[in-house]
Amino acid sequence: MKNRFLSNILLTFIWVAITGDFAFLNYVFGFILSFIILYVITKGRGDAKYFKIIPKLIAFVFFFLWELLKANLQVAYDVVTPKFYMTPGIVRVPLEAETNLEITLLANLITLTPGTLSLDVSDDRKVLYVHAMYLSDKQAFIDDIKNGFEKRLLEILR
């Protein structure tokens, strides 16, 4: 119930933001609209889990942006220079994340960082297969993910 309420508020804000009309009535309207949509799409299913903690989220966003910029530059160097320095490959990354949302977010974040691409999650959700450009040290790569993204992400979500 709480989650649904939170999602409702979140959607209301999205509504107000994209309409760009900050009048009180628009909040009310947005709230009602989101309520209806949520009601329609979650009916018959368990409550969807929405973001719990917004501040952590914001901190995470900045961390992520930093990572993004960093890695981008690395790849850019390889792209621009004539010779390829990369050592690509596909590796198994065991997952600690359990819920759909956790896994999805983690996979997406990995994809968004340059040089890595989440290819798929095993059906038993235990392993994420990642294609990486720089795989000179496989274990270091895996540890990086597990201690960086995954840890921070799970902190937020749990």
Binding site: G89, I90, L109, S122, R125, M133
Partner: protein, 137 residues
């Protein structure tokens, strides 16, 4: 001041996009190409849209820009995942200098079930074995 910001942001964005494009052309295999493009472009689009938000300096525009960026961040990795996965089982080979492929043999050819490699034996192989045994008999 805003103008300079716009110029910086848009230039950065454009360069990232250009880089992505160059990478897209140069990279030797499909996975690398997917890998290179998704983020560079996401970043590039984000930056250029940000410059538009700054230019218009209008809450409604800014919120829209935010929505677009959010949306792209949400969708483009999923897209990359989908197409990367699809290209894997449609048989796209990895670049010959790739160091490892731990996904090899983990997909069941027909159901596309993906094993984590932690089960003892993949069901498909079991079946293959059975067939072989039958053939021997």
């Amino acid at each position: 001041m805003t103008n300079i910001l716009i110029i910086i942001l848009s230039s950065l964005g454009a360069i990232f996009i250009l880089l992505a494009a160059v990478g897209f052309v140069r990279m030797p295999d499909a996975y690398l190409r997917i890998s290179v493009t998704t983020k560079a472009v996401t970043l590039g689009v984000g930056l250029i849209l940000a410059s538009a938000a700054i230019y218009f300096d209008n809450l409604s525009v800014t919120s829209r820009v935010l929505a677009i960026v959010l949306f792209i961040i949400l969708t483009s990795p999923v897209g990359a995942h989908l197409i990367g996965r699809a290209s894997y089982f449609s048989g796209n080979k990895l670049w010959e200098k790739s160091v490892t492929d731990e996904l090899d043999g983990k997909y069941q050819p027909n159901s596309h079930r993906l094993s984590s490699g932690e089960e003892f034996e993949d069901e498909d192989e079991k079946r293959k074995k059975k067939i072989k045994e039958r053939d021997l008999l």
